[in-house]
């Protein structure tokens, strides 16, 4: 039985339990299914549970009485109804759970990347495992994600805006281009081995898809990838490598501005470096941004000349790049972590063992395409967890109104409990994709 079918059948079978049973156990059982490796055995156990709960006096529906013949008839009816529901829902999917889909392979979701133009997504299953699969999804109808190409290409880091080229990192640590324009025949078109010997940590396509920035710990290479078969090196940028403070923490992020004129990277220092890449062959550093007191962890450009940064401890910084040579800090929002606490003011999930050295959170940040809304997702993990407590996380989505001058106001928050979460914001700046390293699923959800 395929994992996808086992998943759909299992979820449909939870719905086949009596109403009172579902009210009492339904939600927590779905939570268990989210974490469990679902097989035919799971489906069988749930079918047995659904049937036995229907004949259990404590949960039996009102229409049944104690008479034996009617009981027998009820069992037959329940079985028929359950079988019918299983068939129906197994084929159609269950509307309530459509936001989630299962990826092929095993080992957990390693990475999620959206293409800016089309609603496409690359997800790695298995991380550094050689069996991992990279999958491209068409999200034109978000309720029915369609799988396009699937291939063993290493860790995927970027998807071209037209969804045709995937940039990955090979198992040998080299940047590789895959042509996925023909989903049935994904083809490796180039290995860009001209890079340095330092570790490669990220890749980003320019908004037009012509340029691929390949970021190593000591420098950034700019490649012309207009021809995916013959990438051409345009230039290199020296990235600052000075490590400040805790050397084990090296935040890394790289992104082009929506107009393609600027490239910003966060490197081991936790500082943001902004480059002018209008002419990639003569790219030059134009500014260095810093919070002075904290590491920047992740960044996002707005289409209206702003750059937002989130620091390790959850401070949101907004810079105006109206004059790129003189960036101005226009907003500092601290204390958002106090909104992202678990009940009773706990910093981590009540089930989790203490973990003083754990990162406080995973962050993702984006502006909406009109630049008027800034969204930050704070994903709190349970911490350094054991298998028995493996997965629980809480996403808190913060949104502010942003003016073109860089002022932010009008905070709203939405909280949601999720599986072990590595959130990524979609190009619409609103939809959150949660890829869980501990299950082969990506959840897409949009706060109200």
């Amino acid at each position: 039985m395929s994992p996808g079918l086992a998943d759909r059948l299992s979820r449909a079978l939870v719905g086949c339990h009596p109403r009172r049973w579902r009210e009492r156990y339904g939600e927590e059982m779905l939570d268990v299914l989210d974490q469990h490796h679902l097989t035919a055995r799971t489906v069988a156990s749930l079918a047995a549970s659904a049937l036995s709960s229907h004949v259990d006096p404590a949960y039996r529906t009102e229409r049944l009485s104690l008479s034996r013949s009617r009981l027998r008839r009820a069992v037959v009816i329940s079985a028929a109804v359950a079988a019918g529901l299983v068939l129906a829902f197994g084929m159609l999917g269950f509307a309530a759970w459509r936001e989630r889909w299962q990826l092929s392979g095993a080992g957990g979701v390693g990475g999620v990347a959206f293409a800016p133009g089309r609603h496409l997504l690359v997800s790695a299953v298995g991380g550094a495992n050689q069996d991992s699969m990279d999958t491209v999804w068409d999200l034109t109808d978000p309720a029915r994600p369609r799988q396009l190409a699937a291939f063993q290409g290493g860790e995927p880091t970027a998807l071209s805006p037209d969804g045709r080229i995937v940039a990955t990192v090979s198992f040998g640590g080299e940047p590789v281009l895959w042509n996925v324009a023909a989903p049935r025949r994904p083809a490796r078109t180039a290995i860009m081995s001209a890079g340095g010997t330092a570790p490669l940590w990220g890749e980003a396509f320019s908004p037009g898809g012509q340029i691929l920035a390949v970021a190593y710990t000591d420098q950034i290479f700019l490649w012309d990838v207009a021809s995916a078969a013959r990438p051409r090196l345009l230039g290199t940028l020296a990235a600052p490598v000075t490590t400040v403070g805790d050397a084990s923490f090296t935040p890394q992020d790289i992104t082009f501005s929506p107009d393609g004129r600027m490239l910003a990277s966060v490197t081991g220092t936790g500082y943001v470096t902004v480059w002018n890449v209008t002419d990639p062959a003569r790219a030059a550093r134009i500014a260095t941004l810093t919070s002075l007191r904290d590491y920047v962890q992740t960044i996002a450009f707005s289409p209206r000349g702003l750059l937002a940064a989130i620091t390790y401890h959850g401070t949101v910084l907004v810079f105006s790049l109206a004059d790129p040579a003189r960036p101005a800090l226009t907003a500092t929002i601290s204390g958002i972590m106090t909104h992202a606490l678990y009940p009773d003011g706990l910093l981590q999930h009540p089930d989790a063992p203490p973990c003083p050295s754990c990162s406080p959170a995973n962050y993702t940040v984006a502006f909406t395409p009109d630049g008027r809304t800034l969204t930050v997702v704070v994903a709190r993990q349970e911490g350094n967890v054991t298998s028995a407590y493996s997965i629980a996380a809480r996403d808190t989505v913060f949104t502010w109104n942003a003016t073109s001058s860089g002022a932010v106001s009008g905070l709203t928050t939405v909280t949601r409990d999720v599986n072990d979460s590595q959130p990524t914001l979609a190009p619409n700046g609103r939809t959150v994709a949660d890829g869980s390293p501990t299950s082969n699923a990506v959840y897409l959800w949009t706060p109200p």
Binding site: D31, H36, L46, H349, P350, D351, D417
Partner: protein, 108 residues
């Protein structure tokens, strides 16, 4: 947890495994499943788990705690601990007899 211990699930009573799992502290559904797999090798499926949990709850041997997110931890009750102790005594007796008789059959 694949393979040779799977059949053990048919012999080991799910209720006994759950009570054993809860005897060192409250756990939610998935934590119970992974704990049982860890200490016994039995891969208990969610349908079996919740069927047994609801029976244990009705008999007053486990009690549900306040739900945290989508997870509800379960706690063993004093009555549950008593019944577990009784079961373990019975099983020790069975183990003792089984050891004796298999030893005899092997001619030790």
């Amino acid at each position: 947890m694949h393979g040779k211990f799977d059949d053990l699930g048919r012999f080991a009573d799910p209720s006994l495994l759950i009570l054993t799992s809860l005897s060192d502290g409250p756990k939610h559904g998935y934590a119970i499943m992974t704990d049982i797999a860890d200490f016994s090798g039995v891969r208990m499926e969610p349908g079996t788990l919740y069927g047994a949990l609801s029976r244990l709850e009705r008999r007053g041997w486990v009690r549900p705690l306040a739900i945290a997110g989508r997870r509800r931890p379960y706690q063993i009750t004093a009555a549950g601990q008593e019944i577990l102790a009784e079961q373990v005594t019975t099983m020790q007796q069975i183990v003792r007899v089984a050891r004796l008789r298999t030893a005899m059959a092997w001619g030790a």
